[in-house]
């Protein structure tokens, strides 16, 4: 048809006109690795120290794409799902690793003997292993714990127990809140997102004896356990939380705590390295820590998040990428960080050798505690009633991102509007049921 051919040729001319103006730069030069990573502190250090790697491996050139977590996740997922192959190294968590390995989106990682795989903490190694093969190497790992301000507790005449309960935290938070001086009793994640407020709340719901789905994938949000957990959360946040709590994620709370505005904060163990660092924290000498709170169900699965480095199956530089990720997660790398930034900044939660180091124990008073928390984490453990999924602060199914995003938004609205927990839970239960029906898991 002449019309279409004219159309096509015009289009081609148009594209050629543009292309002619610019040399088409090849997406990948040989020996160049494009690394996608999150702008968290440990990764920023890795980027700075990577010049050492390039010195050791002059034939490998590194290109960095450093983005905030949500943007990065969306970029990386779009890229890998459309098999576009823009990246050679991905920074992903233990939520993605098993799911993506099953889709054959990731290349299995085979580090050499010098890497000493057996030095990795067993729980961490297990979570990155699918069908006997390792699909990512752990960069740092975290469980959860309770941070509190010792000075405020002393002033209020209370002592933090070794294993506080949710009810106790609410009580203490109320005692130390001093809104005229902008000290808020408790800071918890309120920013909506499956990895933000829903990570904290999923763990909380598990501790209150609830769960996302029963053994047949039926959503169980409309239950007394969810109601108890959310009521606790909403009450304490409304009464003693900081203003603007609905937009506070991990990073925002870290900044608030470090600048002296929070009394208690329950979050990732990785915050310890930053809160105890006087360069980054105004309360470095006043921070205390203890176990994450427990609820009515004592043996709930406990939090485990592993930021790991993985290689997409579509990468054209698998060998070089392997060289890089083994370097960035090696013992030598931990030493390098210690040398340049001090032991307190060393990547935590991955290697026995880090914890065995007396310098690390001295610099990081929380070290033994964190190691314990990670070694005893059981994300695959059982909830009070049988469940169909695994994970402590997430449900390890592809649909969880959709579910967590939707429910997370509804929870954030609870903090700022007068909506009741009951009505929110029943509408969320319907929304989750819709997603699960669509996924085919729920019939």
């Amino acid at each position: 048809m002449p019309r279409t051919s004219r159309f096509k040729s015009s289009l081609r001319c148009a594209l050629l006109a543009c292309a002619g103006l610019l040399p088409l730069s090849a997406a990948h030069a040989a020996g160049t690795l494009t690394i996608a990573t999150v702008n968290n502190g440990d990764m920023v250090i890795m980027q700075k120290l990577s010049s050492e790697f390039e010195k050791q491996h002059p034939d490998i050139h590194l290109k960095w794409v450093v983005l905030e977590e949500n943007v990065l996740r969306q970029r990386v997922t779009t890229d890998i799902a459309t098999k576009a192959g823009q990246f050679d190294v991905l920074t992903i968590g233990n939520y993605e690793v098993p799911l993506w390995a099953k889709q054959k989106w990731l290349a299995p990682v085979k580090p050499d003997a010098a890497y000493d795989v057996d030095d990795l903490l067993p729980t961490v190694r297990k979570d990155l292993t699918v069908d006997g093969a390792l699909y990512a190497l752990p960069f740092y790992a975290e469980s959860d714990m309770t941070y509190y301000r010792k000075d405020l507790f002393t002033k209020a005449g209370i002592t933090m127990p070794a294993h506080p309960t949710y009810a106790q935290l609410a009580e203490y938070a109320d005692k130390i809140t001093d809104k005229t001086n902008q000290v808020y009793g408790i800071c918890l994640r309120g920013k909506p997102g499956w990895g933000e407020n829903m990570a904290f709340l999923t763990a909380t719901v598990h501790a209150f004896g609830g769960q996302w789905f029963d053994a047949s994938w039926k959503p169980t949000l409309d239950t007394p356990e969810w109601k108890a957990a959310l009521t606790w959360y909403v009450d304490v946040m409304k009464k003693d939380g900081p203003p603007g709590a609905a937009s506070n994620g991990f990073n925002e709370n870290l900044a608030l705590f470090a600048s002296g505005h929070c009394g208690i904060w329950v979050d990732s163990t990785v915050a310890g390295g930053l809160l105890f660092d006087p360069k980054q924290s105004q309360v470095a000498d006043k921070v205390g820590f203890t176990a994450a709170p427990s609820g009515t169900f004592a043996n709930a699965p406990s939090w485990l998040w592993i930021w790991s480095l993985a290689i997409p199956a579509s990468s054209k530089n698998v060998d070089d990428a392997t060289t890089f990720i083994t370097w960035a997660t090696s013992k030598a790398y931990v030493d390098l960080v210690a040398k340049s930034n001090g032991w307190v900044a060393a990547p935590a939660g991955t290697r026995n050798s880090t914890y065995a180091n007396p310098d690390y124990q001295k610099a990081a008073p929380f070290a033994g505690f964190v190691r314990d928390a990670i070694e005893h984490s059981n994300p695959d453990g059982q909830t009070k009633a049988p469940r169909a999924y695994t994970g402590a602060q997430f449900a390890d199914i592809p649909q969880f991102q959709a579910i967590g995003t939707q429910v997370g938004q509804s929870v954030a609205a609870l903090l700022t509007t007068s909506q009741t927990v009951d009505s929110m839970l029943s509408s969320s239960d319907r929304a989750v049921t819709r997603v699960m029906r669509q996924s085919g898991l729920l019939h």
């Binding site: 015009s10 949500n70 969306q74 203003p243 709590a245 938004q409 700022t416 669509q438």
Partner: protein
């Protein structure tokens, strides 16, 4: 144009010219048509598919499922309302204040040209930066400058993003677009004949009367331009929302663009997101038709 002129055979030179015209308009129309239709066809195709980026096990023809799913979602309807609120709110604020400021900066006072430059500066700021700036440095309930100022005079700072999210978002977007309105309207006022203004003054018209009877009618065309251009951009406001509220709390600041983003790229349901995209395309065409009928008439010279 009457039917007879169309039916009359064009002189040969004229038809050659017509072809020349087509060759000139053609490239732009064609590339835009390609840009608008190729992704449209793909979007239309996806909108009838089960297509989840992170779960390739879901695939196949979805019939109208994506549409019924979207249209039966209460969030969808609230997103339409939010889109309308945002567009209309920003238009009212920018055109209203823009007119006042244009009149203000038409007057002579010391340092006027510097003051003008300062006022139009926000137009050059990236939306992402503007949103980060307002969210963190200005309105943060603890560290924000405005919160601190309120505290200094003994007031409790307002938690803008939690309690008035859509209103706050409207203000931020208005801040970005106010300079554009001022720029266009000021230009228009300056082109108003000095003699015209002077004559009105001689007739004894006060400043208020001059504003309503001379300036406003003169600005009609310029206001039309502002409304049209701003509408085009405001329908797809996105960066500001992602950065400040991520559509929340709840769905308080989710407009259609953000709803589609949330479906397609936060929840990775490309089928559902595409259904939203198709609906957005329909809405865009309705708005364009509306512009043709009511707004564009003012642009005829």
């Amino acid at each position: 144009m009457s039917a007879s002129t169309l039916a009359a055979p064009a002189p040969p030179r004229q038809s050659a010219r017509r072809r020349g015209t087509l060759a000139l308009v053609g490239p732009s129309v064609l590339i835009l048509a390609a840009w608008a239709t190729v992704p449209l066809i793909m979007t239309l195709w996806y909108s009838f598919q089960n297509y989840n980026l992170v779960d390739p096990t879901q695939h196949g023809f979805a019939k109208f499922d994506n549409y019924t799913y979207l249209l039966s979602d209460p969030d969808f309807w609230s997103s339409l309302a939010n889109t309308a609120f945002l567009v209309i709110g920003v238009l009212v604020i920018t055109v209203g204040f823009g007119t006042l400021l244009a009149v203000l900066y038409d007057q002579a006072f010391p340092g006027r040209s510097i003051a003008r430059v300062l006022v139009i500066s926000p137009f050059f700021i990236m939306p992402t930066v503007a949103a980060l700036l307002w969210k963190n440095l200005m309105l943060h309930p603890i560290y924000g400058v405005y919160s601190n100022m309120m505290r200094m005079v003994g007031l409790t700072p307002i938690d803008w993003m939690s309690h008035y999210p859509l209103f706050t978002l409207t203000l931020i977007v208005s801040w970005e677009w106010l300079p554009f309105a001022v720029l266009i309207l000021l230009t228009a006022i300056q082109s108003l004949d000095g003699e015209q203004k002077e004559a009105a003054r001689m007739d004894g018209a006060g400043p208020v009367a001059r504003f309503f009877y001379i300036i406003i009618p003169h600005l009609r065309r310029a206001i039309t331009v502002v409304v049209m251009i701003e509408t085009i951009f405001l329908l797809t406001v996105f960066a500001e929302i992602t950065v400040t509220t991520a559509g929340g709390p709840g769905v308080a600041t989710t407009n259609l663009a953000f709803l589609i983003y949330s479906r397609a790229l936060l929840q990775f349901d490309v089928g559902g997101g595409s259904a939203g995209g198709v609906i957005a395309i329909i809405i865009a065409n309705i708005v364009a038709a509306f512009l043709v009928r009511s707004v564009a008439r003012n642009l005829e010279t």
